[in-house]
Symmetry: C2
Subunit: 480 residues, 2 copies
């Protein structure tokens, strides 16, 4: 672990354990530098991590303070998944979630839906309409297997922000990030292979492993800094002897569901590990553009010098999921990915591709992103505040550094499946934690979406979740 | 083989061998009935097959005649594919085809593109534009995993025409027929399994088998009546002992590339075979609505009483491929198909689904289909005429009964890969026959698209193909 992460964790623990109280001034950068024998910039980096996690607030010319406004819930514990590859279960619960249709009478906190009501999306909608009226009807023809060239050019430019120097021909457009992930997995693994994943992990990627006959090896993951490199290294060493691990699948930026951004040095270290053990990395960056810090974080792909990283992303979180436009930068696996894309959908619809390319080219994407990032960051603080207020004492919550998902941990033994059933009658739905584990762990956790503009209805929905949790806990204790 | 097919083949052979000459009156229905000891209706059915194949023309009150207008090229020979399961090759040549971008300077006769310039498509384009302007922005949201309900309702009604009594909940919308086929194959087979296919067969389905680690067993297929049931039965019997055949994948209606419609009795017999050997049937009906005869032919699915047929289709040939909207009626495999669809693309874009549902509901689909069927049938006659005129003597050609593809067979030993290379410099592209075989057979065959309204440019392109073939043949003979 790098020095600044180490230091940030040390300070974070002290704050959370009450060693420093709300309102207290934290030690100065200089004092910490002397105390721990590290450089000033290392301390500054550590404070930035704490700031992103809401544990420290800078005041101009006076240093860092423990925020007074509210006491933050403690961070979720690092998971203890099975130390062996497992068959993936939980399809029934995922199906229950994706079967759901948007309904006016249900506040849907469970799905990965962004806010699509922003006026900054209007030029995109106008573009979609315009393409349908064009004389040459480009939306009706087969697209080339790579996808619309103008969009790939715009994407190559966009990806410079994450440190990637790629050309349009290094990219393949896909039907959403799902297709990017499934083609990547199929391009790198065979049925029976094992894929190492962060834990908790995106259920869509895990269900893909299941559907393709692969197993998942869940690696313990820190809610602030991401997948444990030590545990991963151990797994890869064991793999040499007994398990054919072919790829690592993870979401290092604005992780779903934990919201952390993996520090740059750890991204580099992960890549080095992958190189040493010769495995592919499937990097899901679908929330990467929604980082609350500017400039946006780099991808692992941006450090990739031998083409082993397959970067997967889409516009489903930044623009709208209904467009079903994603992409993959498959590195050395390009030919395999093209074959897998061909057999999966033939080609991708051109109309939304052209509309998005125009939206990017006209400079409409950046202002839209800025607006959404600000909205989501503000909503995060509010959602954490609601959880502090309405949820049972001892509830833990993540500190998302991007995106619009909060991970909430209730006391061990609590069953969010029961909670969700109780809530459905009350017009609220959440995502149960167990779908984020290959083996149904995290039953005491849940994920809530905070993308939409806050309304009294949403606050009431969150309050209902908390109240229902308190009630279930009390019942459990009564029957103990 | 049923009686009428037998009789049709007998008469067809006599006509093609010159026993009856152009302009000759063919034996009366009564005479044939007596001669062959079959019922009058059997003879009538046989004449209908000959009529569809262009070998007989009825004249009111005078009986059937051999057409005088032109001499039709002979039918392609029945293929003699390998009598064992093979790994599928030919990906490079498929990639060459699907890599191609529409270019003004190339007449693309190779791809499966319908004519999308018909004014009967205008309401659909207006619908697409209208949805982008709707206040509730339905095009931006995640769809349910099943697809838009209104479209599934319309599809259930449409499928009554092919004899299928299904409800909206028996259908799953897919991202084109490709996704319908790949989810169906994955829902019924495991890597290493063997799938029996018609031969020649649609390259997309075969590449899917390849990509999923399955093998193809190509079954000889008659250019008028479809897959050989005797050969299939033999293969299934052998399979019991040595080969795990899990499914039969075929296109019985307006077959791609041969254009035949499998007679109804043979569809029933195929289903009985599948039941006896307990294998699934994956039925591709993507050209079924484009049959030149009315009412459209029934599907095998329409006879299915135990849910073993997975019917796959799309609007790519009837409306436009760029919409990427298909569907699958997966019978007893519904749950597996849903899982496979989820991991393949998550869900399908709602905007084109809503637009198509409105187009169908407003009664715009039938007039459009009528117009396209008439256009394609007329173009077929023209294309066959051009092949008769411009191609080398002895060239054989299919007699499509629907769709817009002609299969052309050149003398044995001819290489259409070389032909295609020679043509590229001349601004014409065809589909080489070898991609329609798992093992690269049919190198002397090619497929040409006749969807577009005939122009002097298209006739010139076909003439160039013929002239280049004649030139290559002469060169080959010179070096012999």
């Amino acid at each position: 672990m790098t020095l600044y992460v180490n230091l940030a964790e040390l300070l974070g623990t002290r704050i959370e354990q009450g060693f420093y109280r709300p309102g207290d001034r934290l030690p100065s950068v200089r004092a910490l530098s002397v105390e721990h024998g590290v450089s000033l910039s290392t301390v500054q980096q550590a404070y930035r991590v704490l700031e992103d996690s809401g544990l420290a607030t800078p005041k101009p010319k006076s240093g860092y303070f423990v925020p007074v406004s509210r006491e933050l819930p403690a961070l979720p514990a690092v998971g203890r998944p099975a130390q062996r590859p497992v068959e993936i279960s939980q399809w029934d619960q995922v199906l229950e979630l994706i079967r759901s249709v948007p309904r006016k009478d249900i506040v849907q906190l469970g799905r990965g839906m962004p806010d699509v009501t922003s006026p900054t999306l209007k030029p995109l909608l106008r573009g979609l309409a315009r393409i349908s009226r064009r004389q040459d009807m480009p939306g009706l023809y087969y697209d080339t297997i790579y996808g619309v060239h103008e969009l790939r050019e715009q994407l190559a430019r966009l990806m410079l922000d994450s440190g990637c120097q790629l050309g349009a021909n290094d990219l393949v457009i896909t039907t959403g990030c799902h297709e990017a992930l499934s083609t990547s997995i199929r391009a790198t693994c065979e049925p029976g292979d094992i894929v190492a994943v962060d834990s908790p992990s995106f259920h869509g990627a895990m269900q893909t492993l299941k559907g393709l006959g692969m197993k998942a090896l869940e690696i313990p993951t820190d809610p602030l800094t991401g997948i444990s490199l030590d545990a991963l290294e151990l797994a890869l060493e064991l793999a040499l002897e007994q398990w054919p691990i072919k790829a690592i699948q993870l979401t290092p930026n604005c992780n779903n569901p934990l919201g952390y951004i993996m520090p740059e040095s750890r991204k580099r270290a992960l890549l080095t590990l992958a190189q040493r053990f010769d495995v592919a990395i499937i990097e899901d960056d679908v929330y990467g553009e929604l980082s609350y810090t500017y400039p946006r974080p780099r991808t692992i792909k941006s450090f990739d010098d031998d083409g082993r990283v397959l970067l997967c992303s889409s516009f489903s979180k930044t623009l709208a999921p209904g467009l079903r436009i994603g992409w993959v930068a498959p590195g050395r696996y390009l030919e395999r990915v093209l074959h897998m894309k061909y057999i999966s959908t033939g080609s991708t619809a051109p109309q939304p591709q052209i509309a998005i390319a125009e939206f990017l080219k006209s400079g409409n994407f950046e202002p839209h992103l800025r607006r959404m990032r600000t909205q989501y960051q503000r909503n995060r603080d509010l959602m954490i505040d609601w959880v502090s207020r309405y949820f049972p004492t001892g509830t833990r919550a993540s500190r998302p550094q991007g995106g619009f998902m909060l991970w909430v941990e209730l006391p061990e033994g609590f069953d969010t499946l029961r909670l969700n059933r109780a809530l459905l009658g009350q017009g609220v739905q959440i995502a149960v934690g167990s779908i984020f584990s290959a083996s149904g762990k995290y039953r005491n956790c849940l994920r809530m979406n905070y993308a939409a503009k806050p309304t009294p209805q949403i606050e009431e929905a969150v309050r209902k979740v908390g109240a229902a949790a308190i009630k279930l806990l009390a019942e459990e204790r009564a029957t103990d």
